[in-house]
């Protein structure tokens, strides 16, 4: 990094301004509501770094937290299964990097996988109703009101990140979180980078739940963000980046 002084001050000043501006512009909002623009976490492009070496063996904290917050049902069979974040062995996550002489530690490693919130998402391209779309901050969102359940996005996703509600999910949710809707049968769902939490100023549930700090979440476009500095300093891989999807989950290996 060879940012000169002037450049640095410019960025720092601009960043500071974005933090203060909403509070100055709309002070009235700050009082009456939970959701206030000044509290919300915002970014130019959200991304996540995963350091699987920090994961404890058989730890499922991130999965449990995510699935509880988002009312993800558990049908108890792999056929109808719905998952937003789960773990896979190294060979499944990075098939091209797997070989016989790969170290045991890496081969045995199970790493969290989730929607990659691609910058160039094939699922958004193929959706016939714009039920899945990309927000300006990079989050690939589902509008469950609009999804017709054609499952073309599931065929298009190169990461297997999408699940279909093959059955009515409500009876299979152990404990419903009243702050987040459930889904209805016949729609596709996936990770939403906890946009409903970001707007309240909270980090994604998986990131918050991880005691080992294996998940780092932040703005990829902000040169001073923790995630950006981490990605710049450590070797990392992205899943099937050769497909041109530009995934935003970075695996530090």
């Amino acid at each position: 990094m060879t940012t000169n002084r002037r450049e640095f001050l410019k960025i720092a000043g601009a960043s500071a301004l974005t933090l203060v501006a909403p509070a100055i512009l709309c002070p009235a909002w700050a009082k009456e509501n939970v959701i206030t623009p000044s509290r919300a976490l915002t970014a130019q492009r959200w991304g996540m770094a995963v350091d699987p070496s920090k994961c404890r063996a058989d730890c499922t904290d991130c999965i449990t937290a995510c699935h509880a917050v988002h009312n993800v049902p558990n049908f108890g069979n792999p056929k109808d299964e719905i998952k937003w974040i789960w773990t896979e062995p190294f060979a499944s996550v990075f098939p091209a990097e797997d070989h016989t002489y790969q170290g045991q530690s890496l081969q045995k490693l199970r790493m969290p996988v989730l929607c990659n919130h691609c910058t160039n998402p094939p699922c958004v391209r193929v959706c016939p109703t714009k039920a899945t779309f990309q927000r300006p901050d990079g989050i690939v969102m589902m509008d469950y009101h609009r999804c017709i359940g054609c499952r073309l996005c599931m065929a298009a996703c190169p990461y297997g990140a999408r699940s279909m509600n093959y059955r009515e999910p409500r009876p299979f949710i152990a404990k419903i979180n009243p702050d987040f809707p459930t889904r209805t049968k016949g729609v596709v769902e996936k990770c939403n980078f906890c946009e409903e939490r970001l707007v309240k100023g909270l980090l994604p549930a998986c990131v918050e739940a991880c005691k080992e700090k294996a998940l780092v979440f932040g703005d990829m476009e902000n040169t001073r963000s923790a995630i950006r500095r981490l990605i710049e300093s450590r070797f990392n891989l992205r899943r099937r980046a050769n497909l041109g999807t530009n995934p935003q989950i970075y695996y530090i290996l």
Partner: protein
């Protein structure tokens, strides 16, 4: 042959007429009393704020349009705050805003919806705070 043809035509017309008038004679004699709306139920008197997002007449006529607009703006555009005509602001949220006061869905939503035969699918996904399985 010709006579036969007319027979078929009349039979067809008769089936058609019976078919399209079915709802009228099926529902004849039955009457469903309109729901009696009372504004001083114990639930309402317990509320500190008795004003909805907009005034009652507007909400009665337009709540479905308002909710549709909220839905698209909140989910698709990320605009989550609604500024009412009188300047107050609200979070655009069915469970988080509407149902906090209108907590009794059966009394408040269902009675009218059942009466007019409207079947909104909101609650297939959105949660009624009182009905959460604990």
């Amino acid at each position: 042959m010709n006579k036969n043809k007319w027979g078929f035509i009349i039979l067809g017309l008769a089936i058609f007429v019976i078919g399209i008038t079915f709802p009228f004679w099926y529902g004849k004699g039955k009457s469903t009393p309109p729901p009696l709306l009372s504004l001083d139920t114990p639930a309402i008197t317990a509320l500190t704020e008795k004003r909805c997002v907009e005034d009652t007449a507007f909400m009665r006529a337009n709540h479905m349009k308002l909710l549709d607009a909220w839905r698209d703006e909140a989910v698709r555009e990320g605009h989550r705050l609604y500024t009412a005509k009188n300047g107050r602001t609200f979070e655009k949220s069915l469970t988080g805003t509407c149902l906090q006061c209108h907590s009794n869905k059966e009394q408040f939503c269902d009675r009218c919806h059942n009466y007019v035969g409207a079947k909104p699918s909101c609650f297939n996904c959105h949660i009624i705070p009182g009905e959460v399985k604990q």
